[in-house]
């Protein structure tokens, strides 16, 4: 490939990316505009809370437990070298609350619920259901997208909290049950290390931001999908890839800028 072709490809790629960001901004503006407009669509919102949140509980609990147990094991093996195994609760708790809880929850939710949201909206587009709504004088962004996006935003901190709690319990099982650390020591080191205003509030903030990211990306990808089975499939894949990478990049910037 010649230099000219490379520059041209780079230009096209940049142009497409800027165009996509512009469309995403318009899409976000549209969601915000319809959010302030009645009806509130509480029933659809609760349905989405169930689909995005309740149906993700099992995978969040299992993953949280597994991550907590691994953290407990690795943490113990590392800390015991310095004779600091009594700090296992603090290590497990802080790493989960400040970092792993929100990030892993966002990644898991993207894979389970984000892809489902994209596939559902994309399929509605491919089967002309979105056009059907328009012809019934109903804005599909209001009826279909808004409840899903807001459900994702509301559910993410709750799932993150659930993940953290089960993971701390997993760490407790390994540290106290298997390795013989005193249970009181584990819990008190955790309690002393974690600051609510800094660590817990920061964790919730991260989870909310990740919820916004995943909710917007998943709904936008579905809405912009080509109306074919291949198009829906590609959009679903894009959701997982783009949302996962965005979560990791935003995680760095949130941590660097706000220290949470």
């Amino acid at each position: 490939m010649g230099v000219t072709s490379m520059i041209r490809a780079l230009g096209h790629g940049t142009g497409d990316m800027v165009e996509s960001l512009g469309r995403l901004a318009v899409f976000t503006g549209h969601i915000l505009r319809v959010t302030l407009r009645p009806p509130l669509r509480l029933r659809e919102f609760v349905d989405e809370l169930f689909k995005v949140g309740v149906l993700s509980i099992l995978i969040i609990c299992i993953s949280g437990l597994a991550v907590g147990m691994v953290l407990g094991l690795q943490g113990y093996n590392t800390l015991v070298r310095f004779g600091a195994e009594g700090s296992l609760g603090a290590v497990v708790g802080l790493s989960l609350i400040r970092e792993l809880g929100p990030v892993l929850t966002a990644l898991l939710t993207t894979g389970r619920a984000g892809s489902a949201v994209t596939a559902e909206i994309g399929t509605m587009k491919a089967t002309e259901q979105l056009d059907g709504l328009r012809m019934m004088a109903v804005d599909p962004i209001d009826y279909v997208v808004r409840p899903k996006a807001w459900a994702m935003i509301c559910v993410m901190p709750l799932l993150s909290a659930l993940f953290i709690v089960t993971a701390i319990f997993g760490g407790y099982l390994v540290g106290v049950g298997l390795m013989g650390i005193d249970g009181g020591t584990y819990m008190s080191s955790l309690e002393n290390a974690v600051d609510f205003g800094n660590d817990v509030a920061g964790s919730i903030l991260k989870a909310v931001i990740f919820g916004v990211l995943v909710g917007l990306i998943a709904t936008y990808q579905g809405f912009a999908a080509a109306p074919t089975s291949a198009g829906v499939s590609a959009a679903t894949t894009s959701t997982v890839v783009i949302a996962s990478v965005s979560v990791l990049i935003f995680d760095y910037f949130i941590t660097a800028l706000w220290g949470v």
Binding site: E128, Q129, D131, G132, L133, R134, M135
Partner: protein, 287 residues
């Protein structure tokens, strides 16, 4: 290009409900409609005929404002759809009903909820009144006891009828119908055809039907717009059948013959008259 009226007097626009004027439309640079001008009379059944890819469904989407023409104007009444904002379009769409080719029913809602949906969205009708109207429309399309069924539990013909009932639920002034006969057996085709005619007579709405099923078209249409490669032709079915235009004659004759042939075979099949032929082909004797 302007549609050539078979009868020039028929080009008077005073009673036209929907008009397309010099419409240009392309998908990804591929032209679909070129300088199309045609009209759809108020209160009548107009059928848009044409081969695959001739832009029939595109015309319905243009009228509904789902897509916008590259050039030209689409009028519903006196309003140019292409110049309206999305919010203003929603107001116009309250006067339109559309039956999509594959139904486009909301697959997470039951049949009842699909029909009740527009009423719940746009009216303050009581629950009893909504129920009454939904059942009235379902009866109008010949369906009963389907309230709780989901769209995936319906046959192709039932989906079309539910979609038709939903399109009628807000008593639209213009009903857009996309390929109502596609994928249907001959009996269901005739049923839908009869339904469309009955609904038009009962509610008096302007009906624009896109189809490639010529026998049904010739039976039900008051006005036909025929999209042909050399430009569209429009007029009454009788005028089209009497047309000396070789393009019209070729399109109607070939397709009519083909359709009648298919229908005849289908009727033979239903009557069991195909059996001797099949057995003859298999080299067996009839029991």
């Amino acid at each position: 290009m302007t549609a050539a009226p078979v009868n020039p007097e028929a080009s008077q626009h005073s009673h036209d409900h929907v008009r397309l004027e010099h419409v240009e439309m392309a998908y990804n640079g591929r032209p679909v409609l070129r300088d199309l001008t045609c009209r759809f009379p108020r209160g009548r059944i107009s059928v848009v005929l044409g081969g695959s890819g001739s832009g029939k469904s595109t015309i319905l989407k243009l009228i509904g404002g789902l897509i916008h023409a590259r050039d030209g104007a689409v009028y519903v009444g006196e309003r140019d759809i292409g110049r309206l904002s999305e919010r203003a379009l929603y107001e116009v769409r309250r006067e339109l009903g559309m039956m999509f080719q594959n139904g486009a029913l909301l697959d997470s809602l039951s049949v009842f909820d699909n029909l009740a949906f527009p009423l719940r969205e746009h009216t303050r009708l009581s629950r009893d009144e909504i129920e009454r109207q939904v059942h009235e429309r379902l009866q109008a399309v010949g369906l009963e006891d389907v309230d709780d069924l989901l769209p995936r539990e319906l046959s192709g013909g039932m989906v079309k009828r539910v979609a038709l009932a939903r399109a009628l639920i807000q008593s639209p002034r213009v009903l857009l119908v996309d390929e109502p006969f596609s994928g249907l057996d001959p009996l269901s085709t005739k049923l839908i055809e009869a339904l469309l005619v009955r609904i038009n007579r009962k509610y008096g709405m302007t009906m624009i039907v896109v189809s490639h099923h010529i026998p049904s078209t010739l039976r039900m249409a008051d006005h036909v717009v025929l999209l042909l490669p050399g430009g569209p032709v429009q007029g009454s079915p009788e005028q089209l059948l009497a047309s000396a235009d070789p393009r019209v004659r070729r399109f109607l004759t070939e397709d009519t013959d083909a359709s009648e042939d298919v229908l005849a075979h289908a009727e033979e099949f239903e009557a069991g008259e195909h059996r001797p032929l099949l057995e003859q082909r298999r080299g067996r004797k009839r029991p």
